[in-house]
């Protein structure tokens, strides 16, 4: 035989050499780990998708939402916001905005996002409730008791879970346990949303009028997005939008009477994707 194996010979050797006895494989363990990975991945994907829906292209929001920096408690930054002098820097303005949001009673947030997705939610000190629409479907959104729930065919619509999981969650509240959504849980978390990753992330921009309210721009230096906040006290947010103006968040009806929050769903009515 030739000393020089050609490609076919190499192929044959590699394909046909005796593997010997296959190593023992605990298929039950493989299946168990597969289920566990499926559940974890589903939660991660669902969180990612909803975050995309909610904040995706709004870079200003995203820059804050994705910050791993824990902002200081608002009350310790400025214990008495009302008599404090007007903020003159972007950092002071951000702290003023955080104080104002946290001190408010309620706000109506309407977001319009690329692809036609929307969020329409009333956020109060105690929680949040409203609707989320995505790809023509509407989901109920509820923040209560320090947890966030979405009800409807959320996972079904996003195609995130297995048929078994979809069947399990149908008609129940889906517990969204991941961090990025917590910003919409209540006014405290919403206030923290405006906290920048560092003190130089924002600069003050032009003053303008939005929906009849004089507002000054807080320009994100990292992402070309802008948050417009009231020029004058109490410095509440008015609008957040990205450079394309397609993705935008409108804040209105600050401190308007808000409907009472329902009680947290009973455990039997909650589907936790992590637990199946």
């Amino acid at each position: 035989m030739s000393d020089v194996p050609d490609l076919a010979e190499t192929r044959a050797v590699l394909r046909e050499f005796d593997l010997g006895p296959l190593p023992a494989l605990d298929l039950d363990e493989v299946v168990r780990r597969g289920h566990r990975r499926r559940r974890t991945a589903a939660v991660q994907r669902s969180a990612a998708v909803v975050v995309v829906v909610l904040v995706a292209s709004a870079g200003f929001a995203a820059a804050h939402a994705h910050s791993t920096h824990t902002p200081p408690p608002v009350s310790t930054v400025s214990p008495t916001p009302s008599p404090s002098p007007s903020p003159t820097t972007a950092a002071e303005r951000v702290l003023a905005v955080m104080n104002a949001v946290t001190a408010a009673d309620s706000v109506h947030v309407v977001a319009g996002l690329a692809g036609g997705s929307t969020l329409d939610v009333v956020v109060t000190k105690d929680g949040a409730q409203g609707t989320l629409t995505h790809q023509g479907k509407t989901y109920t959104y509820l923040g209560v008791g320090g947890a966030l729930y979405i009800k409807g065919e959320a996972f079904d619509a996003f195609g995130l879970l297995s048929p078994t999981q979809v069947a399990a969650e149908r008609g129940r509240w889906v517990l969204m346990t991941t961090g990025p959504l917590n910003m919409f849980m209540n006014l405290t978390t919403l206030g923290q949303w405006f906290y920048p990753q560092n003190g130089t992330a924002l600069t003050l921009g032009q003053t303008t009028t939005i929906n009849g309210t004089p507002a000054i721009a807080l320009v994100n230096n990292v992402n070309p997005d802008v948050a417009y906040v009231e020029v004058d006290a109490p410095y509440l947010p008015v609008l957040v939008e990205d450079a394309t103006h397609v993705n935008h968040w409108v804040f209105s009806q600050w401190n308007a009477p808000a409907p009472g929050l329902p009680s947290a769903p009973a455990p039997a009515d909650v589907y936790n994707p992590l637990q199946g």
Binding site: L7, L22, G34
Partner: protein, 175 residues
């Protein structure tokens, strides 16, 4: 409820078990050629099957075998990156692959020794070219490298295998 304990879930699990049983030898071969290490190959197969099971509801009607092979390749790349600098290119094959005079064991021992003489990159190309039957162009696309690089790596890998006396001996034993 625990996902997977419903009737539909059990059916899917059973389907996956059949798949796993049928595909294990082929997956193990790919992993073995990629790593030249039975222990590592075994781990890669388990990882691939676990990840394939995790996506089984979607993969079952597509190409789960292809997916599992890609997982093996990628997981091996991850392992290689993680262990970079610690992996020694050596003709030494882990215990268990040698020491038996039976023809099958001798052949396996020879092949693994020959593969152990290749670099990780050469083994990747060998798997794609000779086990997956990828063309040079497709191999280049999959590995994200120029066509000429694939050609030269293939040539080099063949040459190294050709020079390996253990593999020569195998061919004499098993012409």
């Amino acid at each position: 409820m625990v996902v997977g304990t419903s009737s539909a879930g059990r059916d899917l699990d059973e389907e996956f078990r059949l798949f796993a049983g049928a595909q294990r030898p082929a997956l193990y071969r790919v992993a073995l050629v990629l790593t030249a290490d039975p222990g590592v190959a075994e781990d890669l197969v388990q990882t691939a099957l676990m990840r394939t099971h995790a996506r089984w509801p979607r993969l079952r009607d597509q190409d789960p075998g292809g997916y599992a092979r890609r997982v093996i390749t990628n997981a091996n790349i991850d392992r290689w990156r993680r262990d970079r600098g610690r992996e020694r290119l050596t003709a030494e094959v882990p215990e268990g692959a040698s020491g038996d005079l039976a023809a099958g064991v001798a052949e396996r021992d020879a092949v693994l020794r020959a593969l152990a003489g290749l670099t990780a990159q050469e083994r990747k190309v060998v798997v794609l070219r000779f086990l997956d039957d990828f063309s040079e162009a497709d191999t280049a696309k999959v590995l994200g490298m120029p066509l000429g690089t694939v050609k030269s790596i293939t040539h080099r890998a063949i040459a190294r295998l050709r020079e390996d006396r253990n593999l020569d001996r195998t061919r004499e034993v098993n012409p």
